[in-house]
């Protein structure tokens, strides 16, 4: 702890000296009586001041929470000697707020009696935080001497994005050869009946459809759709973030990605993510609960970094975009690099869906005629761009915070039911 002195030390010392000098100069001892109390008080405080050795600990009841959840914890202090005043300022990162308790406390410590200051934190925004930073100041009883220190407990605290529970999902056009919960278009071993065909040598007897065989007087066998899984790649646009006071397009992107990843992984699909921005990051598709944790942890690190370097889809390793994968792009469609990359993906034959995270709710309107015209043109440009995607058979649905994500998924499903690719 570093020691510092109150401005009173200099003030009282100077005043005492001046009072005594003036008293001696004019030969009047009564004037010295003005300075004497200050000098005596200063001496007393300096003699009685001791170096405190408080031990501060920080605890929280858990290291993980979802947005909006509350977490309890405590700052505890104990000291071998009396600390007349111990000031603790709990420094909270942006995104975490204190809902119960005070983040600034002034307490008195009695020797060897631990003192606990409970608090309750609310995780307001997803992210990876370090809690347990507190500024500590111990003052003597007269407020002259202060010992400052910083508590750096560095307790990791991860806030996972709030996710919607999705009942239906966008089905991929193609499935992969691994077992899963999706009906493949191909015929093979499975439960779901597909059709019947003539028996060929090698077919199992148990698959013979005896009723059809009896009617046609030749052997027919049942064919089924095998249950397969599919590869889903969530492409997150992190080139730009348009944000308001409470949330932004990046927040919505991360929340939607978390919801989609959880829902697809629950259906035994393989899910990967690609963070497409100034910093390109990816997670190759895999399945299972572990993958969900990896994805959510990766999402927490998502951030927008300003860059003007041109990036296209070639910067991604081939493994991050497996063939016949369904690519779900989550983007506000503001950066031309993302717009071009998505068109490139579609041209390469990827099954593509775009969830347009609408920046419109976060854009401030203006009454200025010129600005209003510019805003209108910008909206028209966005509509034209969406139309261009739709002509290529890419489902583009605009999503803002007022709509549930499941509604957006339904809109994409409806589009894909009837969409036909016109030309690449």
């Amino acid at each position: 702890m570093s020691r510092s002195y109150s401005f009173k030390l200099a003030l009282y010392g100077t005043f005492t000296a001046i009072a005594f000098v003036v008293a001696f100069a004019v030969g009047r001892s009564e004037l010295a009586t003005l300075g004497a109390p200050f000098g005596a008080y200063l001496l007393l405080t300096l003699v009685l001041a001791t170096q405190p050795h408080p031990r501060i600990t920080f605890t929280v009841d858990r290291e993980r929470a979802t947005e909006g959840e509350k977490v309890s914890g405590a700052l505890s202090a104990v000291a071998p000697s009396t600390v007349p005043e111990l000031e603790l300022l709990h420094v909270l990162p942006a995104g975490v707020s204190m809902t119960e308790g005070a983040n600034r406390s002034l307490i008195r410590l009695v020797p060897n009696v631990p003192r606990s200051l409970p608090f309750e934190l609310t995780a307001e925004r997803w992210g990876s935080y370090a809690l347990g930073v507190a500024l500590v100041r111990a003052r003597d009883r007269f407020g002259i001497v202060a010992d400052d220190g910083v508590l750096k407990a560095a307790a990791p605290f991860r806030v996972y994005p709030r996710s919607d529970r999705l009942r239906s999902l966008v089905p991929p056009l193609a499935t992969q050869p691994y077992a899963g919960n999706r009906l493949a278009r191909s015929r093979g071993e499975g439960i779901e009946f597909a059709e019947i065909r003539s028996f060929v040598p090698g077919d199992r007897v148990r698959r013979v459809n005896w009723r059809a065989s009896a009617r046609r007087q030749e052997l027919y066998v049942n064919e089924a759709h095998p249950e397969r899984n599919s590869d889903i790649v969530l492409l997150l646009d992190s080139f730009v973030d348009v944000s308001g006071p409470t949330s932004g397009t990046l927040d919505l992107t991360v929340r939607a990605a978390a919801s989609l990843a959880a829902a697809y992984l629950e259906r035994r699909d393989r899910v990967g993510i690609v963070g497409f921005g100034a910093v390109v990051r990816w997670l190759t598709p895999a399945m299972g609960r572990r993958q969900l944790h990896l994805i959510v942890d990766a999402l927490l690190e998502t951030e927008v970094t300003l860059s003007f370097a041109w990036k296209d889809i070639d910067v991604l390793p081939p493994r991050s975009l497996p063939p016949q994968a369904l690519v779900i792009a989550l983007s506000p469609l503001l950066d031309t690099r993302t717009v071009a990359a998505l068109l490139d993906l579609r041209s390469r034959g990827f099954d593509l869906v775009v969830i347009d995270i609408s920046p419109l709710p976060f854009v401030r309107g203006s009454d200025e005629p010129l600005e209003a015209l510019a805003a209108r043109l910008w909206r028209l440009w966005r509509e034209a761009m969406r139309y261009r995607y739709e002509r290529l058979g890419v489902g583009v649905v605009e999503w803002d915070e007022t709509k549930p994500l499941s509604q957006v998924i339904e809109e994409v499903r409806a589009f894909r039911r009837y969409a036909r690719r016109v030309s690449a």
């Binding site: 002195y5 109150s6 401005f7 009173k8 030390l9 003030l11 009282y12 010392g13 005043f15 009072a19 003036v22 004019v26 009047r28 001892s29 009564e30 004037l31 010295a32 009586t33 003005l34 300075g35 004497a36 109390p37 200050f38 000098g39 005596a40 008080y41 200063l42 001496l43 007393l44 300096l46 003699v47 001041a49 170096q51 007349p84 005043e85 000031e87 308790g101 005070a102 600034r104 406390s105 002034l106 307490i107 008195r108 200051l117 009883r141 007269f142 407020g143």
Partner: protein, 159 residues
């Protein structure tokens, strides 16, 4: 409120019975009161203005027309108490959870300041009336006192 009352008393005491000196004392008292106001608003350096203004007001009156000893002692003690009251209030963190024991501790510190101030000013007055026969001895005592004071402050601050 207490600080304001003490400040008003400190500004008013030198004015009592100072008919001819009032034009000189009033501005000093006014500066002192303004200093108190600003110091209470959080401007630390105004405490110095306040202290020196009140001290100048008292010294002016004292040099022209001596107070009785008890008034001088009370005035000196009041100055110290006022400074301690203001710093106690100003250094109390806003929007913080403050222990009752801390509040009591600050109150008792002001009480200690009053006792120490009264004792020190009394001893100074008493010491001022002591006449040491030899000039050399008087100088020696003075130097010893000054060195002791300096040594205590230096060793405590450096440690």
């Amino acid at each position: 409120m207490v600080a304001a009352a003490v400040a008003a008393a400190l500004a008013a005491v030198p004015l009592i019975g100072a008919d001819g000196l009032s034009p000189a004392l009033l501005p000093l008292g006014g500066v002192g009161l303004v200093g108190v106001l600003f110091a209470l608003l959080g401007f630390d350096f105004m405490l110095a203005f306040m202290l020196f203004a009140f001290a100048a007001e008292f010294a002016t009156r004292q040099l022209a027309d001596s107070f009785v000893a008890s008034v001088a002692i009370a005035y000196a003690t009041g100055l110290l108490v006022l400074c301690e009251l203001i710093t106690s209030v100003v250094t109390l963190p806003r929007a913080a959870r403050v222990d009752r024991a801390v509040a009591w501790g600050r109150g008792s510190a002001v009480g200690v300041a009053a006792v120490v101030g009264a004792t020190a000013s009394t001893l100074t007055l008493v010491g001022g009336s002591i006449r040491v026969g030899a000039a050399l001895l008087a100088a020696l005592i003075g130097v010893l006192a000054a060195v002791t004071l300096f040594a205590v402050v230096t060793t405590r601050v450096r440690s």
